[in-house]
């Protein structure tokens, strides 16, 4: 690990100022569960690490029906899965928060960090993408809101410009008769990285048999987590049934062209996306029915 400077500001303004003043490479640290490993194992020259955990706004989780859920970028998974409004309204978020890393990791790792790390296999990204999250970004030029599906642009690369930071992630309140789920496959039950993952949110009509809207995110099968719009389109306006979900699962399989790597082969990933999409949609639909 190379030597670097460390700062721990307590406001967003201080952070923006620090980032604009530093000429060299700056990295922001939230939980550090990805960052510290990367610093240790790569020889990248980092000049400044800014620890943002001390900024109160970045640790808050707020919810109201009008603005929806706002998750501070540094709030750890454990804070998220213990939050009453999240437990009540955003099951897919709970699913992701309870499977990232292991218990100890979840006390540190944040959804904001998972998002900024922009890994193709980011579980939190898949869950948030299925829920239509918006990323609130601040920089010296002002504020930007980036739809989550535009936030990750390549493996390890996000849409933040130099001098910008992620403040929070905003997720709209659930519509009536809606349900969500995030499901992934790993060979190991914890401390493992998704071979493939699927996030889904489903909104049913008042009779609870027709799908009004759907968002499906696919994880670890493309350079970034991706929104599967063709899958959503195949569902909207249709009556829920086993064969409908099976059809959607087949479409999900056809829309992706994953790679083979140490965690799994392309064919295994394709197969798993089919299985996971069907299972994930099934649970999201069941949850929508239960909620109503």
């Amino acid at each position: 690990m190379k030597t670097f400077d460390y700062e721990a500001p307590v406001t967003i303004d201080q952070t923006i100022t620090l980032m604009s003043k530093t000429r060299g490479k700056t990295l922001l640290l939230a939980g550090g569960t990805d960052l510290l490993v990367q610093l240790r194992y790569s020889n990248q020259d980092v000049d400044l690490v800014i620890d943002v955990k001390g900024i109160p706004e970045l640790n808050q989780i707020n919810y109201d029906e009008f603005s929806g859920l706002v998750i501070g970028a540094a709030a750890p998974c454990s804070q998220i899965y213990e939050s009453a409004p999240v437990l009540e309204n955003f099951p897919a978020i709970i699913d992701a928060a309870t499977i990232i890393g292991g218990k100890a990791i979840q006390n540190r790792a944040s959804f904001g960090g998972n998002l900024c790390n922009a890994s193709p296999s980011g579980d939190a990204i898949g869950a948030m993408m299925s829920l239509g999250a918006i990323c609130n970004v601040v920089g010296s030029e002002g504020v930007r809101n980036i739809p989550i599906e535009d936030f990750c642009i390549a493996p390890g690369k996000n849409a933040l410009e130099k001098g910008e930071m992620l403040i929070s992630i905003q997720i709209p309140s659930p519509r009536p008769n809606s349900g969500s789920h995030y499901l992934r496959f790993t060979p190991r039950a914890e401390m493992d990285i998704a071979v493939a993952g699927v996030g889904a949110s489903i909104e049913l009509d008042s009779d609870l048999n027709k799908i009004l809207s759907a968002r499906i995110a696919l994880v670890a099968v493309a350079p970034t987590p991706v929104l599967a719009t063709e899958v959503s389109e195949s569902l909207v306006g249709q009556k829920t049934s086993g064969s409908l979900l099976e059809k959607a699962a087949n479409i999900a399989k056809e829309t992706i062209s994953p790679i083979t790597d140490v965690r799994g082969s392309a064919s295994q990933r394709k197969h798993l996306i089919g299985v996971l999409t069907r299972r994930c949609l099934d649970i999201a639909v069941k949850r929508a029915v239960q909620v109503s």
Binding site: G102, P187, A189, M191, V262, S265, S267, Q268, H271
Partner: protein, 734 residues
């Protein structure tokens, strides 16, 4: 007086370990210590033309850089000194200029800080000439293959043969014949504590190395050999050891630490030297469990009696011999299991390749052999329509059986008892159908059994020393036990103390243990081969008996010193394999229940029953811990741990890609059933336990997967992708 054995005494090292008071090698500090880093080869097969340390030596903080020419006798090895201490030109050992695997050590850098040592290590320039890389043992066996060692005319380290009866003549009498090719994987020991140690010159002028190992006297001997010293000039101390499992049976940092201290001493620098390997260095730098290819052809009559077994197997020994020849012996024995088979032919080879060396690992060739043997029996039973337990009843050995080695099994054969107990307790055969499962889940039940030797095999010299001092006046008030047996985390020292208290008839609190220091003890052999409780118990009993005699003669303190030597085993006859292979055995049977997700290939182990005859459980809760630990380690071996090596390069040298089971992955329930059929040679009738529960797990689990899916897997680990490929070829367009 209440018994001190057969009771769940708390571990004597527990408090220090849970409070952090116990010091592991990486915890050992000295204010003036220097730090060492090793330059590894990083190439699977290459000759070093020259090493330029000029730039590295000028790095700030560098005290010394040592290369091959600095090693007095540049060779080492537990059985065969075929490995250079440091690879490079200029030493007295022929062929020592050639790296034969990526983890060969090239240069040592001693510096003021670890950072300075790393910086200088990265500035060492090595001029390499790459050589042909052989990673397939079958290729390496070919007569025209390039030789790993110029001095040899074959890459075959050892060929074991068994010829008993007439295999060729037996096939015609067989109702069914099962022929399979099995492949078993590498396994990494993955102990909590990566290799580390500290070295210095002690007050008596001895080079002293404090390091985690399994056998202080062997480590002392190997250091002395490489440094051209007498053993008296070398001292090895084991501080707290963070797991071993056979992975510390061959030395890692012992010799290089001693070399660095000796070199500094000669330069008049008297500062300790410390090294701590990273996890990657540990995974690249120490040996693994041998991968085996096993071609097995077995035949049975219609009544289930196994008439013939023909086995051909090849072990990938990797770049150096380590314990490969000995592991091969055990795999040879295990490849036909605990069965009475009249006609047996085995050809077993251990072969050099440019892969990471293979060596000792809990089970020592047993898991590989047992996987093939037990799978063969399960498949024969399946083909004949005979229940697997009934199939075993018709073939298992018993007291008086003469096996394939044409010698009588040591008295106290209890494989039938463990099999019956396991079958009985698990209501075997299980016919009940679970209707509560989702449609994608298939449940299955599997059974396997095994025997495991206690003590060194095939003529390897076996002995164990102990010394006891009885202090007091009219009553024994205090007992000091001197013993060299290593406490690797398995609980050996606690049972030493229990056995001493029992033999002396005093409370456990009266026992003081002086252990793990070559300067204070004599040879007790290694913590391996499930031998330590058996050998130590016999040596402690012998020493206590002598001390009690002296106590009666009013000697104060009364001292007894005793070297236990068990009955001599013999080596395999080179043509027939005839021998008396082992001192004695422990016996085990297991039943495994799995649930297979046929859509993802994920396997969940719901329940394991392991019935183990340990002779006598000195500390039952520790024995249960050993059984559960072995099952968990075998679970990783069978399902998850997938060491990927390509062209000699290990691609999974981190715990993020070499996956060991977490607490959420291990079997949901392990029932450890301890049986206590006395072994006539064992102290208090005990046998051993450490390895045997490992052996039947893979074949029992794989039989359960067959029961669930109808598919036999002859290769593992059963990572989900392999399972899925086996179940549903269409996924892969096959």
């Amino acid at each position: 007086m209440t018994s001190k054995i057969g009771v769940d005494v708390s571990r004597i090292d527990a408090l220090d370990k849970v409070t952090g008071k116990a010091l592991f090698p990486a915890d050992l500090m000295s204010s003036d210590m220097l730090h060492m880093k090793i330059l590894f080869a990083g190439r699977p097969h290459a000759r070093v033309r020259s090493i330029d340390v000029g730039k590295a030596e000028s790095c700030p903080g560098v005290i010394a850089i040592l290369t091959a020419s600095d090693v007095p006798v540049n060779e080492y090895g537990l059985i065969n000194c075929d490995q250079p201490v440091l690879v490079g030109p200029g030493s007295n050992k022929k062929g020592a200029d050639t790296a034969r695997f990526v983890g060969d050590q090239i240069a040592l850098v001693v510096a003021e800080t670890e950072e300075a040592a790393i910086k200088a290590r990265d500035d060492i320039l090595v001029d390499w000439v790459d050589l042909p890389v052989i990673t397939d043992p079958y290729e390496a066996m070919k007569p025209d293959a390039p030789m790993l060692f110029e001095s040899r005319d074959s890459n075959i380290i050892k060929h074991n043969k068994i010829r008993a009866g007439d295999v060729e003549g037996a096939w015609k009498n067989c109702e069914v014949i099962v022929e399979s090719i099995y492949h078993t994987p590498w396994q990494e020991h993955a102990y909590l504590q990566p290799e580390a140690g500290i070295s210095y010159i002690d007050s008596d002028g001895r080079i002293t190395v404090e390091v985690a190992g399994q056998w202080v006297h062997e480590e002392q001997k190997q250091i002395a050999h490489a440094l051209g010293l007498t053993v008296d000039q070398v001292r090895v101390i084991h501080p707290a050891i963070g797991g071993a499992f056979g992975g510390r049976e061959d030395v890692s940092v012992q010799i290089v630490l001693a070399l660095a201290s000796w070199h500094l001493h000669e330069r008049g620098i008297s500062r300790p030297v410390k090294i701590v390997w990273s996890r990657e260095e540990s995974i690249l730098g120490h040996h693994k469990r041998h991968p085996y290819n096993i071609h097995a052809k077995w035949g049975a009559a219609s009544d289930g009696s196994i008439l013939a077994a023909e086995v051909k197997m090849v072990a990938d020994a990797g770049a150096y011999e380590y314990t490969s020849a000995k592991v091969l012996g055990n795999a040879t024995l295990q490849s036909t299991g605990p069965y009475d088979i009249p006609n047996v032919s085995v050809d077993a080879y251990a072969v050099y390749t440019n892969n990471v060396p293979s060596g000792a690992f809990r089970g020592f060739g047993g898991p590989q052999g047992a996987f093939a043997a037990e799978s063969q029996v399960n498949k024969l039973a399946d083909k004949l329509g005979i229940d697997v337990v009934e199939m075993r009843r018709r073939n298992l050995i018993s007291d008086g059986s003469i096996g394939q080695f044409k010698s009588v099994y040591p008295e106290g054969v209890t494989i039938r008892q463990v099999v019956e107990e396991c079958a009985d307790r698990s209501n075997w055969p299980i016919t009940q159908v679970d209707n509560s499962l989702p449609s994608n889940i298939r449940k299955g039940y599997g059974f396997a059994c095994a025997l495991k030797n206690v003590g060194f095999s095939f003529g390897f010299p076996e002995e164990c020393w102990a010394k006891v001092e009885l202090h007091g006046g009219s009553e024994i008030e205090r007992v000091v036990l001197h013993h060299a047996g290593a406490e690797c985390g398995q609980g050996a020292h606690t049972v030493f103390v229990q056995m001493t208290a029992e033999a002396c008839g005093v409370p456990i609190e009266c026992i003081q243990l002086e252990a793990a220091d070559s300067a204070l003890t004599k040879n007790s052999g290694s913590a391996s081969a499930s031998r330590l409780t058996f050998m130590a118990g016999n040596s402690i009993r012998g020493a206590v008996d002598l001390a009690l005699e002296n106590w009666q003669s009013e000697e104060r303190p009364a001292i007894g010193e005793y070297k236990f030597v068990p009955r001599q085993t013999t080596a395999l006859d080179t043509e027939t394999g005839e021998c008396d292979p082992n001192i004695t055995y422990g016996y085990v049977a297991q039943r495994v229940i799995v649930e297979v997700d046929i859509e993802t290939g994920h396997i969940r182990v719901v329940d394991v029953m392991s019935v183990d005859d340990v002779g006598r459980a000195i500390n039952p809760i520790q024995v249960a811990g050993q059984i559960e630990g072995a099952v968990v380690q075998a679970h990783g071996y069978t399902l998850l741990e997938n060491l990927v090596s390509r062209d000699g390069y290990i691609e999974t040298a981190q715990f993020s890609n070499y996956l060991i089971p977490t607490s959420l992955d291990v079997p949901e329930r392990v029932e450890a059933v301890i049986l206590e059929y006395s072994d006539p040679q064992g102290p208090w009738g005990l046998r051993g336990v450490a390895e045997m529960p490992f052996l039947p797990y893979a074949p029992a689990l794989i039989a359960a997967v067959h029961d669930a899916t109808g598919i036999w897997f002859d290769e593992f680990p059963l990572i989900p992708e392999r399972v899925l490929r086996g179940i549903d070829h269409s996924v892969y367009g096959e």
